[in-house]
């Protein structure tokens, strides 16, 4: 909530309540987000079965009492796997977004503040990343660096970098000669200190909106990569892989294997997108669409 604090510090509670009250969808997104976070934290503790326990006698059972989401081709409980996978998917997305937020906003701030060569190099680099279809670039990176979860995080972080660089660069650029920055400079602050203490807090609100929108993409991206067999390896529970495992059964009528993980994945991404829209309404009412 740092974002809201900065944007509307004097009357935060009323503004927050006003925006959420006017748009119940945002409130719903916040609640849903809380639920997902709880799931990611306590998932393994509340899953009814061991997500890796196989039981070939109970393979491909439709949803029923005891197995609310049914069982997959080797008899694993799908509900348990969906619940446990939340930590995996959220972990990947969070790590990737945190990484691109940290590196992207640092690079973008420097580019916007110093201008000149720094700006040219950073902008060129970010343009080069944007010259690729992003998912394809992620595929290439993971294929090149090796098929591990760490590289999925790295690839997702790299393809999201340009968005942070752009936002941070633009926000710093308009403020680099603002009165408060001049004042800070005159009173003897170093460039690093001005960037960190005076400019960085100003770019937080727009980047936070970006973070929330990006989380959804990052989850989609990670799940997509796992779906085509990159990154997370079976039998590890992850939503994209579970959909891939269910893909071959859906055309013969066993819909539950792919449907439940797919639907939860969709809900998670939906939640982040709503949250991003809601945060933008809170922070920048002019950009509401």
């Amino acid at each position: 909530m740092t974002a809201a604090t900065i944007a509307t510090a004097p009357k935060r509670p009323s503004h927050f309540r006003y925006v959420v009250g006017e748009n119940p969808v945002t409130a719903f997104a916040f609640v849903l987000f809380g639920l997902f976070v709880l799931l990611a934290i306590f998932g393994p503790a509340i899953a009814p079965y061991d997500p890796l326990y196989t039981d070939s006698a109970a393979a491909l059972r439709p949803p029923m009492k005891g197995h609310w989401f049914g069982t997959d081709s080797v008899g694993r409980d799908i509900l348990s796997r969906v619940v446990v996978a939340a930590r995996m998917d959220f972990g990947i997305a969070l790590a990737a977004v945190a990484l691109s937020f940290a590196i992207g906003s640092a690079l973008g701030s420097c580019a916007g503040y110093f201008g000149g060569w720094t700006d040219r190099i950073v902008s060129r680099g970010s343009d080069t990343i944007m010259a690729f279809p992003l998912f394809v670039l992620a595929m290439g990176i993971v294929a090149a660096l090796g098929n591990t979860v760490g590289n999925i995080v790295l690839a997702t972080a790299i393809i999201n970098l340009p968005f942070y660089i752009r936002v941070a660069r633009a926000e710093v650029n308009v403020r680099r000669n603002a009165g408060f920055v001049e004042a800070a400079r005159l009173s003897g602050n170093t460039n690093a200190r001005i960037l960190l203490r005076h400019l960085f807090p100003n770019i937080l609100p727009p980047t936070m909106v970006q973070v929330s929108l990006n989380m959804g993409w990052a989850i989609l991206n990670a799940a997509g990569l796992s779906f085509i067999g990159l990154g997370v390896r079976p039998p590890q529970a992850e939503w994209g892989i579970m959909v891939a495992e269910g893909a071959q059964y859906i055309v013969s009528g066993e819909w539950w294997v792919a449907l439940f993980p797919g639907a939860v994945l969709m809900l998670a991404v939906f939640c982040f997108n709503l949250l991003g829209d809601g945060l933008r309404d809170l922070i920048d009412p002019r950009r509401r669409t």
Binding site: G140, L145, A247
Partner: protein, 337 residues
């Protein structure tokens, strides 16, 4: 006009160079020793060393880069280990399938999203507007591979309306003689109605799957752009002068809102090329995306590199096309700026 095109082509060169550098770096970072691969499993260390020398893998990185670029320019994109074919030939064979799918999906998305966005903008706050907001937010949340499966389940398994999600054509039919490589067009050229219907049926589900995914950003941008234009002064003047509603909406407002919409189409194409891979896998579509996945699972690196490069070049070309359409839509836009 030709001069502006040439100028814009020139401006695309840095992105192409960037793309080639990145793919080169990715090639060198790939796991596995290509020399060992080429020499075969029974090769001695000496034989591997010889192959390495022959492939130029002992040279310095800048030298290797020059060699890489020269090879690319000569059309030598390496060979696929699993099929033994040159990568460029295979990519060229499979590219039309991917393009046909992507362009159809874009057409579907634009035909639905643009009118939806216009209607939502003319009636802000109405139920259509709210539907538009929900649809657009839900649309960007859809994992393409999941919607594809869902559509296949509903329309193939439950309703039986769609053919089995396997490939571009009914297995009992033969492909039309290739002219453009697009089955829809080729079958019409050959006058083969049966093939046309069959390929249209096969194409429907994957194209709709991809279209759904990109409908959202398009509808959202159309709505936002139209809202912006509709509140501007010249529209108020047009209204006050008593022009017909349709004339105001389409002749005055929409033409001015078109620019950001076309920009979004360019951006959306990036998503589409990515989701292409997933959709092709779900529907066993024989395009370059499924080619890359097959190669990935076989740890066959040359096709993957060729695929990444092709996609990037396609995307650069598309952005070029988008920039050029600007000048057609809006004479005020000059490419010099």
């Amino acid at each position: 006009m030709l001069a502006t095109i040439a100028k814009r082509l020139f401006a695309a060169i840095p992105s192409v160079i960037g793309v080639i550098v990145v793919t080169f770096v990715l090639t060198r970072a790939l796991p596995g020793d290509p020399a060992a691969y080429f020499a075969g499993p029974a090769a001695t260390t000496e034989a591997i060393e010889q192959v390495r020398e022959k492939l130029g893998l002992n040279a310095s990185l800048p030298k290797q880069f020059v060699r890489y670029v020269v090879d690319l320019a000569h059309g030598d994109w390496g060979q696929s280990h699993s099929t033994g074919q040159p990568v460029l030939t295979e990519l060229a064979q499979r590219l039309p399938a991917s393009l046909e799918l992507t362009l159809c999906a874009l057409a579907i998305a634009a035909l639905v999203a643009v009118p939806l966005g216009i209607v939502a903008a003319t009636r802000p706050g109405s139920w259509i507007d709210h539907t538009c907001r929900i649809v657009t937010t839900a649309g960007v949340s859809l994992p393409t591979f999941f919607t594809g499966l869902l559509l296949a389940y509903i329309f193939y398994f439950l309703l039986g309306w769609a053919p089995a999600p396997l490939g571009r054509l009914d297995p009992y039919l033969t492909a039309p003689p290739p002219v453009t490589g697009f089955y829809l067009i080729d079958s019409l050229i050959a006058g083969d109605w049966e093939v046309f219907v069959s390929s249209a049926k096969q194409l429907a589900l994957p194209a709709v799957t991809m279209g759904l995914f990109v409908m959202a950003p398009l509808a959202r941008m159309t709505r936002a752009a139209m809202l912006g234009v509709l509140t501007s002064d010249f529209i108020r003047t047009a209204r006050a002068s008593g022009l017909a509603k349709g004339t105001i909406l389409y002749r005055y407002a929409f033409r001015n809102a078109l620019l950001p919409v076309v920009t979004t189409m360019g951006m959306v194409f990036s998503f589409m090329l990515g989701s292409n891979v997933l959709v092709e896998k779900v529907f066993a579509w024989p395009g370059i995306g499924s080619y890359a996945i097959e190669a990935l699972t076989a740890s066959d690196y040359a096709p993957v590199q060729g695929f990444v490069l092709t996609m990037a070049v396609l995307y650069v070309l598309l952005n070029l096309a988008v920039d050029l359409t600007y000048t057609l839509i809006d004479p005020r836009v000059s490419l010099d700026g």
